[in-house]
Symmetry: D3
Subunit: 237 residues, 6 copies
């Protein structure tokens, strides 16, 4: 099985790290290739960023998707996931939707701990779209930019754990979802300090992609996903 992981950001330094991390998580026999977009945002923290990531994600899906068995769009904003499903009849998943579906099996309500103040309204859109509003306990932003999560990882872990504990104690969360794939490197330390399951979304998306491929399941085109008229797009190569 071959899984194409698209980092919808131009940042290069995550490529190798992500590839190593996700290969360690993939099943024996699954090859994982992490690619990045060449034009677009360095990180995705706003709707603006996500919008600029879109065309390049689709270019990569169109160019490299046919040779993969599944595609992971590696950002918790799940950018262009629906559009990518129109481009190829391959499994396409995002970290947010797969983290939410996995969370449903682990406890009554989950909370999402993310990077910024827009976390709560953004996650509201995600659970509404995904149809699991009644299972969300809360979404909390810790106010640390994605690109700084690793710089002071001790502080980042502290802040995330503090917010998660608030979600557990005040909002009744039984599951914590890390709301940013950039938190993957912190997940282990966060887990050690919490007593509830902690979902790391990048790994979760990868495993769900494998699961769908192994079960022979794939979205089909015809209703939600129509085959686009590729030549209707002007000005993009």
């Amino acid at each position: 099985m071959r899984i194409l992981v698209i980092n919808p950001v131009t940042t290069r330094e995550w490529l190798e790290k992500d590839q190593e991390y996700l290969r360690g998580i993939a099943d024996y026999g699954t090859s994982v290739d992490v690619v990045r977009i060449e034009r677009g945002p360095k990180s995705i923290e706003t709707f603006y960023d996500a919008t600029y990531a879109g065309p390049e994600i689709l270019r990569l899906v169109r160019q490299e998707g046919e040779e993969a068995d599944a595609i992971v769009i590696n950002c918790f904003a799940d950018p262009a996931v629906d559009a990518a499903r129109e481009v190829v009849e391959k499994v396409v998943v995002g970290p947010a939707e797969t983290s939410m579906s996995v969370a449903l099996h682990l406890g009554s309500k989950f909370s999402v701990i993310s990077t910024f103040a827009n976390s709560a309204p953004w996650v509201r859109l995600q659970v509404a779209k995904f149809g699991v509003e009644s299972r969300l306990a809360s979404a909390i932003g810790v106010d640390i930019p994605v690109l700084e999560l690793e710089k002071d990882s001790t502080k980042a872990v502290d802040e995330i754990v503090r917010a998660a504990q608030e979600a557990i104690d005040r909002d009744g969360a039984e599951v914590i979802v890390l709301g940013c794939t950039g938190m993957a490197c912190l997940a282990q330390k966060i887990r050690q300090r919490l007593t509830v399951p902690v979902i790391e979304p990048a790994a979760t998306a990868l495993k769900m992609a494998e699961l769908l491929v192994k079960l022979g399941l794939c979205h089909t085109r015809g209703r939600s996903y129509l085959v686009p008229s590729f030549d209707k797009i002007e000005g993009y190569r």
Copy 2:
């Protein structure tokens, strides 16, 4: 008051027609400028199309938005509306969300009549995001591409009226929302053949933009909408 209408498609021939139509609908004293994107889709019928429209919409918002009082993204997919609200602290609205909010005042349930088979699942996402699921009667696609609506307008009107009547009789719709701004030219004929209110979304978005400006209301930044770091985007001018 100045309203900037962004046609998120590269098609030129609608520019003048839309400008004339919307100027006729605007209040005395409101100037309306319709612009189009230069790169992107000729029409928006899929998530793929919508994704390719995004960056150019935001470029136009950033470039011309500060001089407008309000911005209308003139497509029922409401592409990049959330992102545009991050770019400028001006009123930004889309035809789908404004048509839905207006429909709430006119009857118990509304149906959306749109162009394609993806109408029902796409509108499900829109009502879920907007939070008005319980007010949707149904969404029906008539299977006529946007670019052909005008070519055989008699057939298009017939098909739309037939679908609308089905929504009224079978699904209990009391309000019909035309699910494509390209149907503006057909709205009058459709209205003549139906006994329920018919919402034309382009006009509705324009009037709602005026309303919000006149009431001095505007989304603010800080939670849903953060100010983007514009220099984080690479490879786009």
Copy 3:
């Protein structure tokens, strides 16, 4: 365009003030006539009050509605709005429903700040009826009777701002709806002290009435709204 504004209270002193305020808000070319009921409550703060306002509202609608293009029932309880739509095939709107629909465009969640302890349960009914439950952050009563809002306006503004800030900080509101049309005179001062959009419901209802008329939209009779048998009512003139 002629808009009939019905104050569903017997209090006279608001007539002139409201007329001046709403005429200032109306478009050039819109005439606004504010009338009051002659029998019924001095102010509406309970379901009891609202019930006693009903027959007179409908008498006024029946008597004067045909000559108006639209009717605003000027109280946040939206009393008799549904019934009024049965009486005339004219646009009829209320401040609560129009404030809620406008709020949907401005941020993820809105809170209503109203006068009494019954605010939260009453607003729950309103959002349930309107179908926008998932967009309500909270409803808070400040415990100041309608008739005293103006007497000590400094205190009233202070209390409303305090409650609104609690809604913003604790409940995640991005939009504040003033839950009483009697707060119109305080709106400007409240706005100056908050960083989120503040919706004043009387003005909002008026502008939405104008919008609907300009778009040629009106509820129709036949399903939600049937034509009443006027002579079935006994004992009322």
Copy 4:
């Protein structure tokens, strides 16, 4: 125990019939007094009718409510139920809300069979207000005025049974709620022709009133229900 049943219609001929019917259903030891309003609608079929019934209902509640243990507002529109709970701290129930709560125990989904085309939207409001949307299968109007249900009872039964069977077969209803207290006289015949439980709302309201009194339960005032300022009402005796 004394139960006051308020027929919110001026029609006299139902008084005796209802009194006999409801006394037959009341427990041994429960006295039932059916009274009618003196001013208002002959029957309630529209929001207009319901509005005109309001003040008289409240006058009766205020005048006679203190001596009752519970009050039933005997019309499926549940007119002025909330307001009546503000007037007296006695049990006040309506046929719609009690029929819905009883239906919840009898099967997965219920349908309401009512008199007119406004049945579906009106019942949507009722289930939304009561919070049981997910349990409603459908609401169907049979297009027979209340005042004619008894005139041609064979036809009325036929029509109601036909609609109920449609609700069962097409919409999956497991419980039928008769959506009009005027159908009480037909209930027995309807039951004989259907295989699912049929809820007659007048009897249900009476028994639920008894149940609440026997359990010592009553809504309290202070949040949903505030004590009204009776002298704030002008022009009504």
Copy 5:
């Protein structure tokens, strides 16, 4: 009328007490027989306990149910209520579902005060199943085992009242539901210290069973409830 009350626990000491209590609550003419299961849990506090209570409940229903007019499964977990309705075409109710339906008549939102930390997630399942999610204010566990509620009843009352007051003040509850039938003996004292209605679930289930029988209502078999093939069960007598 004969009502069979099944205590789904093996504990003997509650039998007499419950019989006395419920006979005091039953109508004149209703006979109440309280029986207990012979195999299963001493008390029900977990899903595990509830699972072990199931087969014996159904054995009792099958053995003794035909001679009853209605059956109450006397535990707030409502164990095996759906299954029991398959066994006999008699009224079968549980304390949780009947308490919730009664609470709907008494105020805007209810809170459940129960014994353990699993209260909130368990009640979430119950309101979701019953379809009344929007009416729940909160569910709070007081961390006192069922079997100790009576041992230190002063402490139990204190804790329950404290939790109820929190539900009222913080969560907006207007009705308190005691979330354990073992709290029946404390209900009177709790009521004296709260200003909102307090629902005791065992009594409520009994009265609702009577109500349904008196109204001639019963679930029918054919959709939700099919007649089981009793001989398909092996290894149980």
Copy 6:
């Protein structure tokens, strides 16, 4: 990894077949042991059947669960899944909940095709409990007992395909979930005749169990799931 699959039925003939099927689906390195209960129903088609399966499921979980990494309760009723999670701190999943979460990734709405007339109400309970009501298109029973699915597999496939096609055409389903683990042997033939993804629930549960174990995720005890007092159960070994 070792996965314990509990067939919650006494039927022996499925043991070997299921073991072979599921081992073929398990990852290299995963051992799968299928066991059956010794007392209980031959098949699960009613709530009655499910209730009798409970205690034995828990006995097996307690006895053999500690040595497994994950446990699958192999029946679409997901019997005793919550209780099993209290017994061991191991991954426990059921076919219904895992099929529903997987379906969320494949299209807008899913339909469940099951064996009996109770399919629609039972699935309503399942989606309500799981919190995904808005994603269900419909649930249809084909009226073939579980034990006869294999006897006339041609007829069974025909009926299931016919129902699925109805769900697709009439109800808008984009994903079909087979609502019975006994349909596993028919899945391949059903897939060949439908154009949308078909989820076979037994395989799905197994793969999701593997996924959760590989991600190191497990429900924890303390809120939804408390550690039961095993010695509180009397009369069961």
